[in-house]
C-alpha cells in the first residue's frame, strides 16, 4: 500500500517497503538488534573480553559469580564470562555456515526436483531418503571418525544432514506453486525454465525456507551442543557454548553457574534468530503479494 500525499504520489521502492514492514514488528526488530549485538561482541572479543579464554587459575576453580568474574570460573579457574564472549565466535560461525551450506544445496535440489518432476524428481527424492535414513548422529560420528574430531567437520556433518530437509521442503512448495495460475500464465507466455524457476517459483518457496532457516541456525547451535554431549563437538580448549554446557552438566546442583550462563547464551541466541526469522518472513511476505 502506498501513501498518497495531496498533490503528489509517493511510491516506495520494494526495499523501502520491506524495511517499513519489518521495522513495524517491534519484537523482530529487537531480536535483530540482539543478533547484531552478538555478532559485534564476537568480532570484538579480543578487545572486550576481560580475560583470556584459556588461561587457567587453579587457586580459583568453580567459584561463583563475583565482581572479578562476572559469570564465575570453571573447573580450571578460567573466566566464564570471557569464554562466553569468545565462544560466540565459534557458535555463531557454526550456526551460520552449516545452515547456509545445507540450505543452498537443499534448495537447488528441491527446486530441480519439484520443477522437473518425473524420473529426476524420484531420483533426487530417493537420494534424500537415503540421506535422511542416516540419523544425523551417525553421520556426525562417521564424519568425525574418518576426518578426525574438530569443529569444521561438525559443520560439514550438520550441513549434510540439514540438506535433505530443505530439499523436501522446497520441493513441496515447488510442486504447489507449479500449479498456480501465476506460474501457468508465465509459462504460457513463453517464459523459459530457468527464469521461471528463479523469478516465479523461488520467491514463493522463500517464506517456508526462511522460517526453517531461522529455526535451523538456532538448532544447529543446539545440534553442536548435542554432539558435545556425546563427545564429538568442539575439542578442548575451545570455548564453544555447547561444549561448555555439556562439560558443566557434571556439576548440576553443585556449581550451577557452569551450565546456567552458556545455557542462557544459547537460549538467547536461538530465540533471537527465531524471532528475527518470523519478522523477516512477514516483511518479505507482504512484498511478494
Amino acid at each position: 500500500m502506498s501513501e498518497m500525499a495531496i498533490g503528489t504520489v509517493r511510491i516506495r521502492s520494494p526495499l523501502g517497503e520491506f524495511w517499513r514492514r519489518f521495522t513495524r514488528r517491534r519484537v523482530a526488530l529487537f531480536a535483530g538488534m540482539v543478533i547484531l549485538f552478538l555478532i559485534l561482541a564476537a568480532i570484538l572479543a579480543p578487545w572486550i573480553a576481560p580475560y583470556d579464554a584459556t588461561t587457567p587459575d587453579y587457586a580459583n576453580v568453580l567459584s561463583g559469580p563475583s565482581f572479578t568474574h562476572l559469570a564465575g570460573t570453571d573447573v580450571f579457574g578460567r573466566d566464564i564470562f570471557s569464554r562466553i564472549i569468545w565462544g560466540g565466535r565459534v557458535s555463531l560461525t557454526v550456526g551460520f555456515v552449516s545452515v547456509a551450506l545445507g540450505c543452498i544445496a537443499g534448495m537447488v535440489l528441491g527446486l530441480v526436483s519439484g520443477f522437473a518432476g518425473g524420473f529426476l524428481d524420484s531420483l533426487i527424492m530417493r537420494f534424500c531418503d537415503v540421506l535422511l535414513a542416516f540419523p544425523g548422529i551417525l553421520l556426525a560420528i562417521a564424519v568425525v571418525a574418518v576426518l578426525g574430531p574438530g569443529i569444521s567437520n561438525v559443520v560439514y556433518a550438520i550441513a549434510v544432514f540439514s540438506m535433505p530437509v530443505f530439499a523436501r521442503l522446497v520441493r513441496g512448495s515447488t510442486l504447489a506453486l507449479k500449479q498456480t495460475v501465476y506460474v501457468q500464465a508465465a509459462r504460457s507466455i513463453g517464459v523459459r525454465k530457468l527464469p521461471l524457476i528463479l523469478y516465479h517459483i523461488l520467491p514463493g518457496t522463500l517464506p517456508g525456507v526462511i522460517v526453517y532457516l531461522s529455526l535451523r541456525i538456532g538448532t544447529s547451535i543446539l545440534t553442536a551442543a548435542a554432539l558435545s554431549f556425546i563427545g564429538l563437538g568442539a575439542q578442548p580448549p575451545s570455548p564453544e557454548w555447547g561444549a561448555m554446557l555439556s562439560d558443566g552438566r557434571s556439576y548440576l546442583g553443585v556449581a550451577d553457574h557452569l551450565t546456567v550462563f552458556p545455557g542462557i547464551a544459547i537460549f538467547v541466541t536461538v530465540l533471537a534468530f527465531n524471532l528475527l526469522g518470523d519478522g523477516l518472513r512477514d516483511a518479505l511476505d507482504q512484498k511478494l503479494r
Binding site: R168, Q179, P207, G208, A226
Partner: protein, 306 residues
C-alpha cells in the same frame, strides 16, 4: 493414485538395496576393528582372531555382502557382535518403546502445535500471537539434555511425582515426551502460523470474504489447504526423526530405545546391528514420505503426482 503408490513401493526396494550397499561399505570404512573392540582390552591376538572368525568378518568384502543379502532375504539379520543375540531380538526389544514414545510425543505436540499455530495465525499481530510465538520458540531454544535434567530435578527429585527414567508405566512417558515434544510443538506451531499468515491475504480469501462466505469456511476451504503443505511435510519429517530414537532423551531418561542402540553399536563397530537399524530407518522414512506425498494430493487435488 493406486498406480502411483505401487510404483513408489517398487522404487522402495531399489532405495533399500542402495542403502544396504552404502551402509555395508560405509561401516567398514570406519577405522577400527570390531573383533578387537568386542574381545576387549584383556584379549590376546589369538582371542581377537577367534572373535573375528566368530563374527564372520573374514574373507573379501563382496563375499561378506553376498552372504549378508542372502541371510537378510531369508529373514536372518544376524547376531549382534557385542551381545551375540539375534539382531531382530535386539532391535525388536527397543522398537516398541521407541514407537510408543514417538507416538505419545508426536500426539501431544502436533495437537498442541496446531492449536497454537492456528490461534496465532488468526490473531496475527496481536498480543496472543506474540506471546504464543515467543513461547513456541522457547520450546525449541533449550538444549534437550538440559531441559530433561531440569525436569527430572523438579518433578522426580524435588516433587517425587514422576519416575526418573526407565519405561515401567504410563508415568515414565510424561517427562521424556515433554522433552522430545517441545521442539516438535514449536516447529508445528510456527509452520502452521506461517501457513495461515501466508494465505490470509490471498486474493481468493478476500474475494470469498467479500462474497459473504462465513469465516470458518473461508479459512478451511480456501486458505488452509495449500498452506498446510509445509506443515504436513514437517510433521512427517519430525515423525521420521523421532522414530529413529533420540540419543539425548534416551540417555537422560534411560529409555531403552533405538537411538542409544545405534550410538552404542557404532562405538562398538557392531556391523550387523548398525546395518539392520539403518535399513529399518530408511524403510520408515520411505514409507512416511510416501504417505506425505499422498497427503499432498489429498489436501490439494491440483497437485498432480507422477
Amino acid at each position: 493414485m493406486l498406480a502411483f503408490i505401487l510404483r513408489r513401493l517398487a522404487g522402495t526396494v531399489l532405495v533399500l538395496l542402495t542403502v544396504s550397499v552404502f551402509v555395508f561399505g560405509f561401516v567398514r570404512l570406519l577405522p577400527g576393528d570390531p573383533a578387537r573392540l568386542v574381545a576387549g582390552p584383556d584379549a590376546t591376538a589369538e582371542d581377537v582372531a577367534a572373535v573375528r572368525a566368530d563374527l564372520g568378518l573374514e574373507g573379501p568384502v563382496w563375499r561378506q555382502y553376498v552372504r549378508y543379502i542372502g541371510q537378510t532375504l531369508r529373514g536372518d539379520l544376524g547376531r549382534s557382535a557385542k551381545t551375540r543375540q539375534p539382531v531382530i531380538a535386539e532391535i525388536g526389544a527397543r522398537f516398541m518403546p521407541t514407537l510408543w514414545l514417538t507416538l505419545v510425543a508426536m500426539g501431544w505436540s502436533t495437537l498442541f502445535g496446531l492449536a497454537v499455530g492456528v490461534l496465532s495465525g488468526v490473531k496475527r499481530g496481536r498480543w496472543e500471537d506474540q506471546t504464543a510465538m515467543v513461547l513456541a520458540v522457547s520450546g525449541v531454544s533449550f538444549p534437550s539434555f538440559w531441559l530433561g535434567l531440569l525436569l527430572i530435578d523438579l518433578f522426580s527429585v524435588r516433587l517425587g511425582w514422576l519416575p526418573t527414567g526407565g519405561d515401567d508405566d504410563w508415568r515414565s512417558f510424561v517427562l521424556p515426551s515433554i522433552t522430545l515434544g517441545a521442539g516438535v510443538a514449536a516447529v508445528v506451531a510456527r509452520f502452521t502460523r506461517s501457513a495461515f499468515v501466508e494465505v490470509a491475504g490471498e486474493d481468493y480469501v478476500r474475494t470469498a470474504r467479500a462474497k459473504g462466505v462465513p469465516e470458518r469456511g473461508v479459512i478451511w476451504k480456501h486458505a488452509l489447504r495449500n498452506a498446510l503443505i509445509p506443515v504436513v511435510t514437517m510433521i512427517g519429517l519430525e515423525f521420521g526423526f523421532l522414530l529413529g530414537g533420540s540419543i539425548v532423551v534416551e540417555t537422560v531418561f534411560s529409555w531403552p530405545g533405538l537411538g542409544r542402540l545405534l550410538v552404542d553399536s557404532v562405538s562398538f563397530r557392531d556391523y550387523p546391528v548398525i546395518q539392520a537399524e539403518i535399513l529399518l530407518f530408511s524403510t520408515e522414512f520411505v514409507l512416511i514420505n510416501l504417505v506425505v506425498d499422498v497427503l499432498y494430493a489429498v489436501v490439494n487435488p491440483e497437485i498432480r503426482l507422477r
